[in-house]
């Protein structure tokens, strides 16, 4: 119990500390923008980690939910006058319900089906966003009305940095709550042995559906924040490549490590920014980087570091 609480608060303190420290050190709007992007991506990565890292289910279309969240805050206020905050929640609710509806039949099946179904879903969302140009602006995207809070328009990257940071911390608290509950134990259990999980009375399809839906809500909220930060949105948000980036963030940071999701997001967001100088070589460098890191750090950055630290501290305790 003490250990559990220790881990939990340590994790939270570490993330909060990193956010605050970086927030105090960042020198300019550009850096705050990149920082906000990192935190926003981390929200989606934390959600996907629940699904991929803890429950062991692969989704190759999570960017579809990011796209839904992003377009919710663009479309609803623009066309129907829905307040931005309400739009974030509506987008999240829609993503969650959509995930449940798709997940229910698909998650009964074993194997790569969730991967295929989510792949299809992601493509479908991107396709709708591209083709329904009359309301979405088509491939060029559309502007996103700024969020107004207490009569002020929020557009400074610095403000978004702190909003994203707060949201990420809340996301992590919720994820921790879930993991330390009966549902959380069930989803971790089915990762290791579905047959034993079922024998223990766990309705595997139901639990998978729940975690898929929760991860979709995380992705959607992340998408909404992304759209609000950028002030403009294109169907690329929902692209297959973005889904892969999300999966890479989770695996790179460490499957089953919430802090890892933040680290993974940081690397995958900052790297392309650093590589824009080599614009022509972006694909090549990003691809090589992904391969190298997967070969040399296959357990992910955070678990590898943790293992190294533990072994250094107490070599006789190794089990």
């Amino acid at each position: 119990m003490a250990r559990l609480i220790n881990n939990r608060w340590a994790e939270l303190a570490l993330v909060t500390g990193l956010i605050v420290l970086a927030g105090l050190l960042l020198p300019s709007n550009y850096y705050f923008r990149v920082g906000a992007l990192v935190l926003i991506s981390a929200i989606a990565a934390v959600g996907l980690n629940l699904l991929l890292g803890f429950a062991g289910q692969v989704s190759l279309g999570h960017a579809g939910f990011v796209g839904i969240g992003a377009y919710a805050v663009a479309l609803l206020p623009t066309h129907w006058g829905v307040p931005t905050l309400a739009s974030i929640f509506l987008g999240a609710a829609f993503s969650g319900v959509l995930a449940l509806a798709i997940g229910r039949p698909i998650l009964r099946l074993k194997g790569h089906f969730l991967a295929v179904a989510t792949l299809g879903l992601g493509i479908l969302v991107a396709m709708v966003l591209t083709n329904e140009a009359r309301i979405t602006g088509g491939p060029d995207g559309m502007p996103v009305p700024r969020l107004e809070l207490l009569g002020t328009r929020i557009r400074a990257p610095e403000a978004w940095y702190w909003i994203a940071g707060g949201t990420l911390i809340i996301s992590i608290v919720f994820a921790q709550n879930l993991l330390n509950s009966s549902t959380g134990r069930a989803l971790r259990a089915l990762h290791d042995s579905e047959v034993a999980a079922r024998a223990a009375g766990i309705n595997v399809a139901r639990v998978k559906g729940i975690v898929f839906s929760i991860s979709a809500v995380y992705a959607s909220i992340s998408g909404s924040l992304l759209a609000l930060l950028n002030g403009h949105i294109t169907p690329d948000t929902a692209s297959f490549l973005n889904s892969i980036e999300l999966v890479t963030m989770v695996v790179l940071g460490g499957m089953g490590s919430l802090v890892g999701s933040l680290v993974g997001a940081a690397v995958l967001v900052i790297l392309p920014q650093a590589l824009t100088v080599f614009h022509e070589y972006e694909h090549l460098l990003l691809g090589s980087f992904i391969i190298a890191i997967m070969i040399f750090l296959r357990d992910g950055i955070v678990p590898t570091l943790r293992k190294a630290l533990l072994e250094r501290k107490a070599p006789e305790d190794r089990v």
């Binding site: 509950s181 009966s182 971790r188 042995s193 079922r198 024998a199």
Partner: protein, 267 residues
């Protein structure tokens, strides 16, 4: 024990399944009631584990009926059977290796926990209360199975004997009415086997119907109320340990060498 015994908790009648044309289990019938220890023995490939998988809903029987507390459960999935009070262990260890020993046992209590994902997500006080209750019960079980020393260790780092006991603790966490144990003492040393022996008797005394698959004849003959001998998926005989040991067809089936030699034929 008559077949009409109204208090029989688990009754299996004429159950069968075949894989690729081979009858893995064929026409098996037995029943058992609260507090009884019912053992299933037989050589490798006799269909013991398959029979367990049929009873616990992992496989669906092609013929026959499984009744749990008077209800026909032949077509129910494992999770529905667990909710009705059936728990089991696995011959080839199905441990949640990425979780701690404590968490493994806590998962066993799943059927008694509320299915409120939203209150879990928001971390409401009710969830904390539920966690505490589950954790305390799990700690008590770990102690009972002499695993208190490894409570917070990752299950992946435990020894084989410890994992065997962990599976029993996890199964007991659901406070089952019927407990299926698939070779609980396999790979354990004599001291550990004696401990498991003791626990099985104790659990049965508390009113649980136990169905046991085991190779250790000393254990089986010592604790069982009834024994069923299975060969090639069919029942050879069912009776008390004495009846079974002395039955000519059993002696014949094992070429007069007696049952204990089966010990040598571990899976």
């Amino acid at each position: 024990m008559s077949l009409l015994n109204p208090i029989s908790l688990l009754s299996v009648s004429n159950i069968g399944i075949s894989f690729g044309g081979i009858h893995a289990v064929d026409g098996v019938t037995f029943e058992t009631s609260a507090g009884q220890i019912f053992s299933i023995i037989g050589p490798n490939g006799a269909g013991k584990t398959t029979l367990f998988n049929l009873i616990s809903g992992v496989y669906r029987a092609e013929s026959g009926i499984v009744m749990l507390g008077g209800e026909d459960v032949s077509t129910l999935p494992p999770e529905a059977l667990a909710a009705r009070g059936l728990a089991r262990t696995f011959q080839n260890l199905q441990i949640f290796f990425r979780m701690s020993a404590l968490e493994n046992v806590m998962v066993g209590a799943h059927v008694h926990e509320k299915r409120r994902a939203l209150s879990h997500l928001f971390g409401l006080p009710s969830t904390a209360r539920e966690n505490r209750g589950t954790r305390d019960a799990a700690m008590a079980l770990l102690e009972r199975l002499h695993l208190a020393g490894v409570t917070n260790r990752s299950a992946g780092s435990l020894s084989y004997g410890q994992l065997k006991r962990l599976e029993i603790a996890r199964a007991l966490a659901s406070r089952p009415k019927i407990l299926l144990l698939d070779e609980p003492a396999a790979g354990c040393n004599p001291t550990e086997t004696a401990e498991i022996d003791e626990i099985i008797v104790e659990v049965a005394k508390s009113g649980v119907a136990i169905v046991l698959v085991e190779h250790d004849m000393k254990l089986v003959m010592g604790v069982s109320d009834r024994v069923l001998v299975l060969t090639q998926g069919r029942m050879l005989i069912e009776g008390t340990p004495e009846e079974v040991t002395n039955a000519p067809e059993v002696i014949e089936a094992y070429l007069g060498t007696g049952l204990p030699t089966m010990e040598a034929s571990h899976d």
